[in-house]
């Protein structure tokens, strides 16, 4: 299996033909649009996952050079209620997301075709089409590439954890005692660095597959242009009587799951909480702001029209007053 497959050959062969070969396109030169044009998405067929954890290990290995090495003791925080989040002594934790574990396997005991089964599901950043973690980062530390990858720049992040709060799945995880905040006002602003899956952006940039996809022995994941991945997800769901998650959640994501059971059931069966994201519905978090954008465009024109109309009226009545005064 070729490690690197060009976008052209991917499209030529079609997603179906590429199938488990998990074709890959390098980051697209096309402009990314709010509808996901030009973005690459991944498709995860939950039925195929055997929960071996090869993806988790590959992810850890590839990201080991980026793993935080905090300075201790941590700077004293003011006020004292600012939480210290330290995972450096718990690097082996694999059953949730941490700064050292950007992908984990979630388990769900469910009934599939009348038979009890344990489904295993790789979980990581969903890479939203219009990611709130990127849009709302007050420091510009989170960024989205044209190919749909959203990434936190660990050299720039101050660890305020706003990205985690605004993420519908609360994916990013904080490590205190590392990063730029140590060089600014460590006691009064910032609290480390936020970590999350960057979908192996360096590997993708040179035409390689993300490590989790490459390492999977069961070909759970495919990657390709979002429209093709969505089409393939629908085909798969139709073929298997499955259900789709990630296509419309939070306005659309670039991580599409196909499950043999409804996601409401899956969500009820998984362990949720910090570092363990849900499978519940997620409304478009940027929706309200996007609606106001239209009002922003109209506002100046409305103001010009209002000012013009009002002062035309004043000038007209002023001329009338003057002419009466002259009479």
């Amino acid at each position: 299996m070729s490690e690197s497959i060009s976008r052209r050959s991917f499209l030529k062969g079609g997603v179906a033909a590429a199938g488990s070969a998990a074709a890959l396109a390098v980051p697209s030169a096309a402009a990314a649009g709010s509808d996901g044009r030009g973005q690459l998405a991944t498709l995860l067929d939950i039925r195929k996952c055997i929960g071996c954890g090869a993806c988790v290990e590959a992810c850890r290995q590839v990201n080991s050079s980026k793993a935080p090495e905090p300075q201790k003791p941590f700077p004293e925080m003011y006020p004292s209620r600012v939480p210290v989040e330290d995972w450096s002594d718990k690097r082996d934790v694999r059953d949730r997301l941490t700064p050292y574990n950007l992908l984990f396997i979630q388990q769900a005991e469910v009934e599939v075709d009348g038979k009890k089964e344990t489904l295993t599901i790789p979980r990581r950043c969903m890479h939203c089409v219009n990611p709130p973690c990127v849009n709302l980062c007050p420091w510009g530390a989170a960024r989205q590439y044209k190919n749909g990858i959203s990434r936190i720049d660990y050299d720039v992040c101050l660890g305020g954890s706003k990205c985690r709060k605004v993420c519908p799945w609360h994916i990013p995880q904080r490590q205190t005692g590392v990063g730029l905040y140590l060089d600014i006002m460590p006691s009064f602003a910032g609290n480390g660095v936020m970590y999350k899956c960057d979908r192996c952006y360096e590997r993708v940039a040179v035409g390689k597959k993300p490590a989790c996809i490459e390492a999977c022995p069961a070909d759970v994941q495919q990657i390709g242009p979002r429209a093709d991945i969505i089409a393939r997800a629908h085909e798969l769901a139709e073929e298997t009587g499955g259900y789709i998650y990630g296509e419309t959640e939070n306005g659309g994501t670039n991580t599409i799951y196909v499950s043999p059971v409804p996601f409401e059931e899956l969500n009820a069966a998984i362990e949720k909480g910090p570092g363990r994201p849900h499978f519940a519905s997620a409304a478009n978090s940027m929706d309200k702001a996007e609606n106001l954008t239209a009002a922003m465009i109209i506002a100046p024109f409305a103001a010009i029209a209002a000012a013009g109309a009002k002062f035309y009226g004043y000038m007209k009545s002023g001329q009338s007053d003057n002419s009466q005064g002259e009479a």
Binding site: A31, A32, G33, S34, P79, R81, V82, V129, N130, N135, L136, P138, W139, G140, A141, R143, Q144, K146, D153, V156, G160, S161, K162, K165, V166, A189, S285, M286, K288, A289, E290, L292, T293, A295, M296, A299, P300, A302, A303, I304, A306, A307, G308, K310, F311, Y314, M315, S317, G318, D321, N322
Partner: protein
């Protein structure tokens, strides 16, 4: 003409209040984009919990931005259509207008970036954010100085 001047002056006062309130809303919700209000107990003050809700403050910031676009355009149109016949921008007024323009332009760029219609490079985004924040700080300090030093936006021609 006297009657018209009075009407314009009254409308101007209403406009000034709207402008002041909008600036206050924008400054408050703008600073709330940084995770500081919860850290420093401000969001713990009864009635101010919403300052720690990022989507709420972001929506209100957009709402304020819509209002400031309308108000500043209205003031500019008023100045060009009528006021400049008998008053002109003072030096401090021109400086405030220039800074405000910078804040508005950088804000518009951030709205465009948030809409994901145009991808900006990460360095450009950080630059725009710093310009937006920096100009806001300069504007607020300068506006306070002008207020207490009695520097009007316009002076008689």
């Amino acid at each position: 003409m006297k009657t018209n001047t009075h009407v314009i002056a009254r409308k101007g006062r209403i406009g000034n209040y709207a402008y002041g309130l909008t600036l206050f809303l924008l400054a408050l919700t703008g600073f709330a984009q940084m995770p500081i209000f919860k850290r420093y107990y401000i969001a713990d003050i009864p009635g101010l919990g919403w300052l720690a809700e990022f989507y709420t403050t972001h929506f209100l910031h957009y709402l304020g931005a819509t209002a400031i676009l309308a108000i500043t355009t209205y003031f500019a149109a008023q100045y060009l259509l009528v006021t400049r016949r008998y008053r002109k921008l003072s030096g401090s007024g021109a400086a405030r207008a220039a800074i405000l323009l910078g804040i508005i332009v950088s804000g518009i760029l951030l709205v465009i970036r948030n809409s994901a219609f145009v991808p900006f490079s990460p360095a450009v985004v950080t630059g725009i954010l710093l310009v937006h924040l920096g100009l806001t700080m300069v504007f607020l300090l300068f506006a306070l100085y002008c207020r207490f030093a009695g520097r009007p936006w316009t002076i008689p021609v």
